[in-house]
């Protein structure tokens, strides 16, 4: 990717397309101040033609969410005439030691007195210890679903119709996880849209396609990882559950994040309840747990695009950066909150991350060569603040609007020229959730320039976003909205070395606000080259 890092004067069109029922309703062209609009219109239509639109709409009413509470249905079906032994065995299988003790303590009429009393005592002791434990790590008191919602990259996960989205790294193909626990695969070149369903595929938190492979899709589920092998040439619309590899490890539930190594067969998975980061060799279904003290779990993983490092966030104010050659890690403690999200620059040299409760983006720069263990190399000593997205008021033709707030997730396009920041907003305070877009430059010095905002139809907010990894004409940001629509926002920039001279006026852009004129040419952040 080194030829992309050369900074070029970029010509930009920001188009926001909102589609209703897969037909174009209106589209807006936003041209940059440096751009001659008419000259690029032709290019634009060509682009539209050869990138088939995968605009999808999943109305929430069409999806029946499964109201499956683990304990709610149990009492309705439980046959209460079972013997104590059967019930104990069932409790042991379902809920482990504490379940067994609970069962024995509850059925004190059938067991000898000493057994009932001692199991109640042990149970009380266990509860006391676990309350102590969860006072250290408050997230352990959450239920699995709440935990997934809390640590997912999706805004308001439990309410979302679309819970996950993944572009294939090599072709125009995407997988969409829906709230009814099914996954649909869309390929514009084929008429079939396979629907993946599996008994164990519950509360999907994340999904990712395997790089350097046509068909493998990793899905982070409630208590296991599924790796689907969906043959792209197959005409079947319902691949059987035999196509899925089930990877599970005791204590590793719920799985909230997965990441494939960009150049190898390895897959890492994380669970907020498990202190270990699991590294799977998927082909042979074996895993190596990497335990480290502190943190109380792993919530979010991101593998750098060059494969040399992995970011692992924990539920406490600590995150780790693993080096993948010898799997040693570097601790980054003393943050204000937990690390919420992070993304890597395409060359793997920079890590941007955000912290829960703060409105700034931090950056870490890794200058060493990847082979050397982190501790011995001159890695970064401290993170630097590169952008502040605290609340501001913008004057737009439609009136003033408030923008900014806490950051939900970050995405960097594969060429390293656009950074999308998903801002949580606050509906009560009149700050809608929105996506702020920055222009970025990685070399020779890291630069960050404000670019614009992406907003949807009135009353909708973005829930999830991802850049399309193989978009030819610049960058394409896919956004899943709260009303179940998925739209694609292309940022067309050309690698033209010479700037366009004639500056035309910007046409009006009803859905894109916030481009203060004085910010236009002002760099928000420039790294000092020492």
């Amino acid at each position: 990717m080194h030829h992309w890092t050369k900074y070029v004067r970029v010509v930009e069109i920001l188009r926001i397309v909102c589609l209703l029922q897969a037909s174009v309703v209106y589209e807006t062209f936003l041209t940059d101040a440096h751009l001659r609009f008419e000259a690029n219109l032709a290019t634009f239509y060509r682009i539209r033609k050869d990138s088939p639109a995968l605009n999808l709409y999943f109305p929430r009413e069409s999806l029946k969410p499964h109201s499956r509470q683990e304990s709610s249905s149990k009492s309705a079906f439980r046959d209460h005439c079972e013997t104590l032994y059967t019930r104990s065995a069932g409790a042991w299988r379902d809920a482990g030691l504490s379940g067994l003790l609970n069962e024995i303590a509850n059925s004190s009429a059938e067991v000898p007195k000493w057994l009932g009393v001692s199991s109640s005592c042990v149970l009380a002791l266990l509860r006391w210890v676990s309350s102590f434990h969860s006072s250290l790590f408050p997230h352990l008191t959450l239920s699995s679903e709440e935990m997934t919602a809390e640590f997912s990259q999706v805004l308001d996960w439990s309410d979302c119709a679309v819970r996950g989205f993944a572009w294939h790294p090599h072709t125009q193909k995407c997988a969409v996880a829906l709230s009814d626990d099914s996954i649909k695969i869309y390929n514009p070149k084929s008429a079939t849209t396979p629907t993946l369903k599996h008994r164990l595929q519950r509360s999907v938190a994340a999904l990712q396609w395997k790089p350097l492979c046509a068909s493998a899709l990793a899905v982070a589920c409630h208590n296991c990882l599924l790796v689907w092998h969906v043959d792209p040439t197959s005409l079947s619309t319902r691949p059987s559950s035999g196509c899925a590899q089930v990877l599970s490890h005791p204590g590793h539930s719920p799985v909230t994040s997965v990441a494939w190594s960009p150049n190898g067969p390895l897959l890492v998975s994380a669970s907020p309840r498990d202190t270990a980061l699991l590294v799977w060799d998927v082909a042979v279904e074996s895993c190596v747990p990497l335990h480290r003290v502190g943190g109380g779990g792993v919530t979010y993983l991101s593998w750098s695009p060059d494969g040399s490092r992995v970011l692992a966030a924990t539920p406490s104010s600590l995150f780790r950066v693993w080096e993948t050659r010898m799997w040693t890690c570097e601790r980054w403690p003393s943050l204000k909150g937990r690390c919420q999200s992070g993304c890597w620059s395409p060359d793997g040299s920079r890590l941007l991350f955000t912290v829960q409760g703060e409105t700034v983006i931090y950056a870490l720069t890794f200058t060493d060569n990847p082979g050397v263990p982190l501790m011995m190399s001159g890695g970064p000593k401290a993170a630097t603040v590169v952008a502040d997205l605290s609340e501001t008021t913008l004057n737009t033709p439609d009136g003033d609007i408030m923008v900014g707030g806490e950051i939900q997730s970050l995405a960097w396009d594969p060429r390293g020229e656009r950074l999308a920041v998903h801002v949580k907003g606050d509906a009560g305070a009149g700050r809608p959730a929105m996506i702020a877009v920055f222009k970025t430059q990685i070399s020779p010095a890291f630069k960050l320039l404000p670019c614009g905002f992406v907003q949807g139809e009135a009353g909708t907010e973005p829930r999830l976003m991802q850049f399309n990894p193989n978009y030819q004409h610049g960058a394409q940001l896919t956004v899943c909205w709260s009303n179940g629509k998925i739209t694609h926002v292309p940022f067309c920039f050309m690698s033209a070395g010479n700037p366009q001279p004639g500056l035309g006026g910007s046409p009006s852009f009803p859905l894109t606000q916030g481009r203060p004129a004085d910010y236009n040419n002002q760099t928000l952040y420039t790294e000092l080259i020492s």
């Binding site: 090599h170 350097l212 067969p265 390895l266 590294v279 190596v288 990497l290 799997w327």
Partner: protein
Amino acid sequence: MAWSVLLLLPTTALFVLLSRFSLFHPILWMSECLSLLTSASAIFSFILLCGVVLMVGFFNLEYYTVVPSIACSKIALLGQVLHPRQFVHSLVHCIMGVVVAWCCAFTIGGRYRSLGHPCTQDESSGPEMCLNEYHLVLLLAGAFIGYSHSLVGVVYNMNYVSFHTMQQYKYLRFKGALPLVVKASAVQALYCLRSFLLLYFFMGYAPRAWICKTLDLSINSSIHSLDSVSSLLDLSLLYHLWISGTFLLLTWYITVLLFRIFVTEVHITPLTPYNASIRPTAFLALQDLALLSQHSPSRRLEVFSLSQPGGHPHIWTALSKECLSLLSDLTERLVAHHDTVATNGRAKSQSTGSNKRSTTSSEGSGSYNALSLSLKNAAFRKCSDFVPYFITPQGALSPGFSSIQSPHVMRRGPKLWSASTGEGQPRGHTWLILPMDYFLTHCCLSLQLPEASSQALFADSQVHIWALQGLSHLVAASFSEDQYGIVQTTLPTILSTLLLLQEAVDRHFKLPHTSSKPGHCSCSMGDDSYKTLRFALRSTLKTAVYRITATFGGHLQ
């Protein structure tokens, strides 16, 4: 090995603590343990244990292999178990088990202390020596666990050393594996104990009578003999047996674990055209190739460089030639296997297949004798602190010569008796009676282990995986790093070899009797990654093809 001896110290201390555990007298317990640990006799038994651990380490070194020998049928497995080499292994482990159990009995003390104890049968004859059955049971349990350790080692290929995809530092690997080892030894000891108790319940009188006869001890009739249900279910006896078994297995497993970790450590092999040529005989060198192609740009540059006088890409030529010959070798093997299965009928195909398979596996293990030898040399050098890893004597050969020579090495390889039983046994009986032969063959067929043939075919696939990784990463890197275009000349050959192999592997996976999904491990300590090597190979191959095509993209047309 030094480490495992050092680790013996805390393990023994822990054992002492646990074996004398008494809940109600903590202070007495601690002081007793301390005095025991510092006594001279404890030091003597500790030295004995050290000797045992060193012996186990020596046997690991002597018996380990990087290519598992896979028995295709149950008879072949029986042959492996009865093999003289294996017999020596079992016998020595049995004896070592007794020694460890004696140390345990000594440490536990009390009623386990010695084999004989004075007793008075009846008032008239006066005091005489009686057999202490508790001691005997403990010793026999040690022997049994030692033997079963050796047996399980054969059945689950415990002497097979696998290489991990993930590189980790030795200490971290050890730390990660330690809980698993403790758990595995405790569980294994429990299973062994169950079998042992059953055995002793039915056959216990035989060793007891024998010992009494040889050592001239009498049996105390006032005490119940231990082979009754009530006395065998003595909780304290069970606990002591179990904890001794766990201790025994734990020390041995730790030795095995440390040995595996040290053997599979990555070595950096210097790149010269000459030792590049003998790569197939050095597992570690191939592993190094796979790693350097992935992680080290400076060493990749060395591969892509031209020789100074002459300007020939010797290193690349030698490397690619060796890797490609390895891969096409595998393709041929797969195609041959497929042909035998496809042309003959199903029943017949299995018999010929099994013969062929066993010969290939024997040839395979033969050719890698040299390899494991070089690996052993490396390990020896490591122990004696010869830091640089040098290549075996064949290193002086020219690239062309060695590739010609390698098939000879293959054919010359000694046939292991155990691996070739499938072929050898029926033939040995042909001169006897034909029906006998017929019966044996059919016996062989009916006892065929499922999937074993497929496992045997891919037994040495770790080298192929590394060759694939190394080649594909080098080719992908050459897109931007190869200044002279030397890789381009071999690119068509590489691609066609990969695609042929892909085709062969795909066909192999479509055969009946080959499952398409990796199964799950049954034994906790035995390394069964050889069973899943073919899946790893398949996915590596796919990834390799994709990596090359994704890098070169449109340029390939």
